[in-house]
Symmetry: C2
Subunit: 246 residues, 2 copies
DNA sequence: CGCTATCTTGAGTAGCGTCAAGTCATGTGG
DNA sequence: CCACATGACTTGACGCTACTCAAGATAGCG
């Protein structure tokens, strides 16, 4: 952290991957110092986003992938008719934009849910570099594959879970991801609205709200607006895989 | 079904990618002849599967990716509690197993829905070769990305469509994939049961059956068991994005 | 301090799931 | 070739979950 009160400057936002606390979770995982330096050279700028800013929009051409440094984003898929669905929420260390590689155009919108900072990684150069650095290549493949695996989990959720089960799975997933980043697994702030949660879970916002209230009444979770405290993780976990008649 | 009664012989099943009619859709797309030969050398055997055979199971270690040569397969994700959900149906030219790269273990079962033939591509060697052949690397990335994009589409379907809309989207998707392979876009045979369709679409088999009957009564589709004829593709397309209150 | 977006809660309803009965297709053994 | 068994599909009646519509509470923001 730079001391002093120098006005915010893009150059200031420049941090090397090598000094980034997320390198374990992010693209550089498993690289040696020299390799990280070469990756660093690619990451040509860090973009700062305010709440509501678009990182990219559906239809725009793929230039770069983005790694979340700080903050929280959502990606939304759009129907022809205007309906939209949240396809994922993204927190620090996660990579965005991989859905665009196949067609060369983004298929989703990516929107900041709070002030966020992302590292921009030009995709073509990443491909080139990954040919030189097998560890990078392998890790990139693992990241893409994990996105596929995550999607399979969401399909399972949307296809076979009850409303409260979906919300329980959602909270446990967030909890786990916060814990992996060194934050509390039991207390956190939701950066998205009930409607966005509902969209992600295939539910209406009223249903999400009712499920929260129910968890609260049961003493499983303390909900105060966007602040969540998981009181009884075990009972929350117990909700998974029990409803939904077989 | 093999003619005569010659015992099945792996060598017999060997076909070069270069002579394969699927090379446009499959991994070799965009490679020159010399590059295809090098890819060919990787594909160490073609596996023949009967209906019901597992290509791989959830939990088994990733050895290879598989390209469907002929036939039809499904992949299923399994819940802890035994519930299972069909995550996708796979036809010729499509690549299976990419969900396993992240963890090194398959997260889904892959099962043949009819007699099928797949090409086995050892994943480690594919990674090595793709470092040497930029076209192969890029195409592999595109294939993985398209799987992510497909999954986003399924999420949209499961999260925001009504029952009949889901089935319409499903039929149109199949139609398009058959057409891309030179088959009829309007007449085809479903290789999966109503229950498997329902599992994929997040519906019960009765609901699928009722939706088929409704389409039939409307004259949109002629259904006879597993044989489907799309009579009025336009009306089927018209079903998308109109129900489901906003 | 008031405006607006967000959230909660209630009442009524529709759509899909559940249960159940019956039909049809496929395959097997006598 | 037929009788039978089995699995797959269709259809109906009923119930429950989550959606819809609506009113009111709360929080965030200028």
């Amino acid at each position: 952290m730079q001391a002093k009160t120098i006005p915010i400057n893009v150059a200031q936002l420049r941090h090397a991957c090598s000094s980034c606390s997320l390198s374990e979770l992010c693209l550089p995982a498993g690289l040696d110092l020299q390799e990280i330096d070469r990756l660093d050279a690619l990451v040509n700028r860090k973009r700062a986003l305010k709440r509501g800013d678009y990182l990219y929009r559906a239809g725009s051409p793929l230039q770069s992938l983005y790694a979340v440094r700080t903050g929280f984003l959502k990606s939304c898929v759009l129907h022809d008719d205007g309906r939209e669905q949240v396809a994922g929420f993204h927190m620090m260390g996660e990579l965005l934009g991989m859905d665009a590689i196949g067609s060369g155009k983004h298929l989703s919108d990516a929107v900041a849910l709070e002030s966020s900072e992302v590292c921009e990684i030009p995709f073509g150069e990443l491909e080139n570099l990954s040919r030189d650095i097998p560890n990078l290549q392998q890790h990139f493949h693992r990241i893409m594959s994990r996105e596929i695996a995550r999607d399979y989990g969401v399909m399972l959720l949307l296809g076979s879970m009850r409303a409260e089960e979906r919300l329980a799975a959602f909270l446990l997933n967030l909890s786990q991801r916060f814990a992996a980043r060194g934050y509390s697994a039991t207390q956190f702030i939701l950066r998205m609205t009930r409607e966005e949660i509902g969209s992600y879970l295939g539910l209406k916002l009223e249903t999400v709200s009712r499920a929260f209230s129910h968890f609260q009444n049961e003493g499983i979770v303390a909900v105060q607006n966007k602040t969540i405290e998981i009181k009884e993780p075990e009972r929350l976990r117990g909700l998974l895989g029990q409803c939904a008649g077989h």
